[in-house]
Amino acid sequence: MTKYLVKRAGQALLVLWAAFTAAYILLQAMPGDSILIKFQNPELGLSPEQIAKIREYYDAGGYLHTVLGFLHGDFGYSIDTGTPVVERLAEGLPETARLAACAFVLAVLLAVLIAFGSAYSGRLRGLLLAVPSLFVSVPVFWLGILLIQIFSFRLRLVPVIGGTELQQLVLPVLTLAVPISAPIAQVLARGIDQVLTQPFVPVVAAKGASRSWILWRHVARNALPPTLTVAGLVFGELIAGSVVTETVFGRNGIGRLTEQAVNAQDTPVLLAVVVVAATVFVLVNLLVDVLFPVLDPRLAT
């Protein structure tokens, strides 16, 4: 087990380093650069010589320098805003973490609702089972804009500007949760089907156990491992979804930071974002891999 863990951790580090290096090389190859984008604006009236001087000021100093900086937690300066990248990450990470965590919880709730609902609903079953497919077929930005128009502007139920922290979370969380709930619901529904077709079900039922009891007890055990795997994969989607959601709702998280950094080709910020995203991805999958044998005794043996 320890050997397995060490090996997985080593692989994770390797993936991180490779992601960083690949991103570094790609970002260097981009046409134009953030300095030009920001400072060539005619409103600023800078001469090419002055731009060259500013470029010197921001020069990060090559690959090795950057790697060492990252290892020390020094991610350099954002060229677009002139602030340290660490500051921007510190601002954005908690926002995005909160959004993503709430969205994930809501997605799981939605998934459970859909999956168990379909197990009970009889005639409506087909309809309910079609819901996840519909959920993943709607562009996220479109859903967000629609939700804002309906719930905030027409019905005036929740504000998108001002309002409390909680109010500001409601619509973004819903927007992000809907597409993510779909794959989880599908896996759960499959798990329920498997349980209900197993030979022990009629036996237990004959002993007087209710259908819900059977579902809760056995599905929880049988459907959890695959759900967990999906959850690991879904995490990447949470990050991508937050780019769109935060842009639509004007939230100040990592997603919006990414969108702005891409727009401004703000290399230091993009590098940091790639490293953060890769770290989270690697950690989540490592966690899933470690938890898997614990949850599913069949795999441990």
Partner: protein, 539 residues
């Protein structure tokens, strides 16, 4: 020479007439300047379209920057937006010598920056030394509103004199623009990248920065001891509002929806198609003119196709600006009748030169040797008549405008290739006349020099000019001390750039704001940036 000049009055009258005509559609009746007694206190939520970029003051021309800096800084003089007359502010009076090479300003007493340091002659001199000459060591570029600047002279603590190498008649107006906002000596001594950051901007204005979330929100709080508004303002003392929350909201429909559903009080950049929505909800739409170089397509003579004047003239004749305005815009966007707005200083009506005439366009292109290919697009020596243009992010409905123009040009056999505004390639290609043959832009400023800002090779140089004569004309204009002669020169330049086919003026670009009915005292500087000093709320 005093600040009263006959030409100024002429300009003012012209402007007044213009204001009357342009405000027709902006629901001017709905906005009462002050309903009853102003109330102190309250928070104003203001939604801004884009985040501010760099807050070095001469860069304040960019509207998101100007919206913030206008509240943080005061200027030497105040340009009355209604009369366009220059009035006292931090300078109580001034003298200008005969040929406009020497300006002496007498400063108001007791004005302080928000860091407590005095706003005195030395501070003013330090500001204008940078705005006039730039500072190479600190990487600070000179400001485009100061021409021919030589040096400053601190006469005494409250008197400062500026010397110019050549006449600089535009300087007085230049001291009133947002970019000439005065900052503390400490701020002006910082290198460029640090002056860019909001936290380093220390001014003497009615508001100070309370909180900033980069690219998202800026909170401004009233300065309690502020007591130096322009003397002509009826409101003196501290600002009425306690707090302004400036929230960056890029989505157009969110800004407008938030306003009409009561989540915001004041929004910038209401798109033309949303004006009716805002008005019908009982809100006020304000279209403020920008009085400068019009929104238009600027044709680059350095391009291998556009170097032929016949092609440029053909494109001019083949463009129907009226159709663009009728289709996409509202009464707040008057059809252009020259390269300058009809409210701009020195404007002449050249609408007879700007008639939509596809027949002439076709004839000119035929003459120039461009013949129609099988696909309807003209070609010559195997080269297609294709011209590239970038969608201009800051311009309203730039993409739709370009699509419509492209549709018009198709009829004369020209293909306009529209590229999305992707900043990476754009930053490189926009300076390349081959790749970017056409530039979609405008610039606002209420002085004759605005045309120089747009066209001179040392300024914005939107057409990447290789025309020595144009540069010379512009330099002559910026150094003419006599107002009438200066206006004549501006008229000559307008004719020249249109005759040369350097520009296809489309419309006079306004700044359009949506304002809640309970917001009073909304005011704007001469080119449409909001001032929140006298705003108060009755909700």
């Amino acid at each position: 020479m005093s600040s009263f000049r006959p030409a100024v009055v002429t300009v003012a009258m012209l402007a007044a007439v213009g204001l009357l005509t342009s405000c027709g559609g902006s629901g001017a009746g709905a906005q009462a300047a002050s309903d009853g007694e102003p109330v102190y206190g309250g928070t104003l939520t203001y939604l801004e379209h884009q985040p501010p970029t760099c807050l070095y003051l001469p860069a304040a021309g960019f509207y998101p920057n100007g919206g913030v800096l206008n509240q943080l800084t005061d200027k030497l003089t105040w340009q009355n937006p209604e009369t366009l007359k220059i009035e006292p502010w931090i300078a109580t009076k001034w003298e200008i010598n005969e040929d406009a090479t020497e300006y002496t300003f007498h400063l108001r007493d007791g004005v302080t920056f928000s860091d407590g340091t005095p706003l005195d002659a030395e501070a003013v001199a330090a500001n204008f030394d940078v705005y006039g000459r730039g500072d190479d060591k600190l990487k600070l570029p000179p400001a485009e509103f100061v021409n021919n600047y030589e040096r400053s002279e601190v006469v005494d603590a409250r008197t400062v004199r500026f010397h110019f190498s050549k006449p600089s008649p535009g300087f007085l107006q230049g001291t009133s623009v947002i970019g000439a906002g005065l900052v503390s000596k400490k701020t002006i001594g910082l290198p460029y990248e640090e002056q860019c950051q909001l936290k380093n901007v220390v001014g003497s204005g009615p508001f100070t920065v309370a909180k900033q979330v980069v690219d998202k929100e800026i909170d401004l709080q009233a300065r309690k001891d502020y007591n130096w508004a322009p003397p002509s303002s009826t409101h003196q003392g501290r600002a009425y509002l306690d707090l302004i929350k400036i929230i960056v909201t890029p989505e157009d429909n969110v800004r407008v929806g938030a306003l009409t559903s009561g989540q915001a009080d004041y929004v910038r950049y209401v798109q033309a198609y949303d004006e009716a929505t805002v008005k019908n909800a009982g809100f006020v739409v304000k279209g403020e003119p920008t009085r400068g170089v019009n929104n238009g397509l600027y044709l680059r003579p350095a391009n291998s196709i556009l170097k032929d004047i016949r092609v440029r003239k053909a494109l001019q004749a083949g463009t129907d600006a009226k159709e663009v305005v009728d289709t996409l815009f509202t009464d707040n966007y008057p059809v252009a009748t020259s390269v300058l707005s009809h409210l701009a200083a020195g404007y002449v009506d050249l609408s007879d030169k700007l008639v939509h005439d596809p027949d002439t366009a076709n004839k000119l292109l035929d003459e120039a040797g461009w013949t129609r290919g099988a696909d309807g697009i003209r070609e010559k020596d195997g080269v297609k008549l294709r011209l590239g243009v970038f969608v201009a992010g800051p311009q309203p409905l730039s993409k739709q405008t370009l699509e419509l123009v492209a549709q018009q040009w198709t009829k004369i056999g020209v293909k306009l290739e529209i590229r999305p505004a992707d900043s990476g390639t754009q930053a490189v290609d926009i300076k390349d006349a081959e790749k970017t043959a056409v530039n979609h832009s405008m610039v606002g400023r209420a002085d004759q020099d605005v045309i120089k800002s747009q066209f001179h090779t040392e300024n914005r140089d939107v057409i990447l000019s290789d025309d020595k004569k144009l540069d010379q004309l512009l330099e002559e204009e910026s150094a003419l001390a006599d107002e009438t002669k200066r206006n004549e020169k501006v008229a000559e330049i307008q004719r020249y750039v249109i005759d040369q086919g350097y520009v296809i003026p489309l419309f006079e670009e306004p700044q359009v704001y949506g304002i809640a009915p309970y917001v009073h005292g909304a005011a704007f500087e001469a080119v449409g940036r909001p001032s929140f000093y006298s705003v108060w709320l009755s909700k």
